[in-house]
Amino acid sequence: MYISAFILGGIICALFQVFMMFTKLDPPRILILGFALGALLTPFGMMDALGQWGGAGLVIMVMTAGNAVAGATVALLGGNPMPIIMIFGIFVALTIIGLGAGFLHWKVSKNS
């Protein structure tokens, strides 16, 4: 599982690297594309299939966000609001973690 995670995660990152080198888009726009790609692959079962093979090689990538939101929307329409609440909770938490890290880094580099 560790080996297939390494291979799948590596291939995904390499493909996005190639994509950026050819399109010259800035990283935020490419992240949006990755986000959307995760959602678009969801209904066809592609994400499940890839995840079953590569495990964390897929789970830790930005496409998971799109996959999770698309899946959570289906759950919400089916009457279960929990997944979408959890996903936005994760986004908020990650943003706060990022802001905290930015602040601490600024403090550390100011004092050195």
Binding site: G10, F16, P27, P28, G57, G98
Partner: protein
């Protein structure tokens, strides 16, 4: 050669983060059991924390320089990107207000917002068609 090198480093760095993520997943599965809905979220949050700690120490910036998308695509890169924009804008403008706005509005709301809208539309279409 110049085009091949960054692609290879993105592959290796992205792969190494995946191994780290796999280790976290295995850990949480052993703690919570394989069917827990919290395995994925906990893995992503832990990676975000790892990215944040490495960013504070100035290490994530170096990993990003080598691995580019190998370091940007994993969720640790999301936390590090927020941190980078936040700290960078503070240094440039000297204002915490502009720094917060740049990090939260121009980065998080921009990427997550548009990404979420596309994903919700996909979800709705999938719900009514598939």
């Amino acid at each position: 050669m110049n085009t091949l090198k960054p692609i290879m480093s993105a592959f290796v760095v992205g792969g190494l983060f995946s191994i780290l993520g796999q280790g976290l997943m295995v850990l949480f599965i052993s703690l919570l059991g394989g069917n827990s809905p919290f395995i994925g979220p906990l893995t992503l949050l832990s990676l975000g924390l790892i990215g944040a700690v490495l960013f504070i120490a100035g290490i994530y910036q170096k990993i990003e320089k080598i691995g580019a998308f190998g370091a940007i695509l994993p969720f640790s890169g999301f936390a590090a990107a927020v941190a980078g924009v936040f700290a960078g804008t503070k240094v440039e403008t000297g204002s915490w207000g502009s720094a917060t706005k740049a990090a939260v509005v121009s980065l998080v709301l921009y990427v997550v917002g548009i990404g979420t809208i596309i994903s919700i539309i996909t979800g709705v279409v999938a719900f009514y068609t598939v």
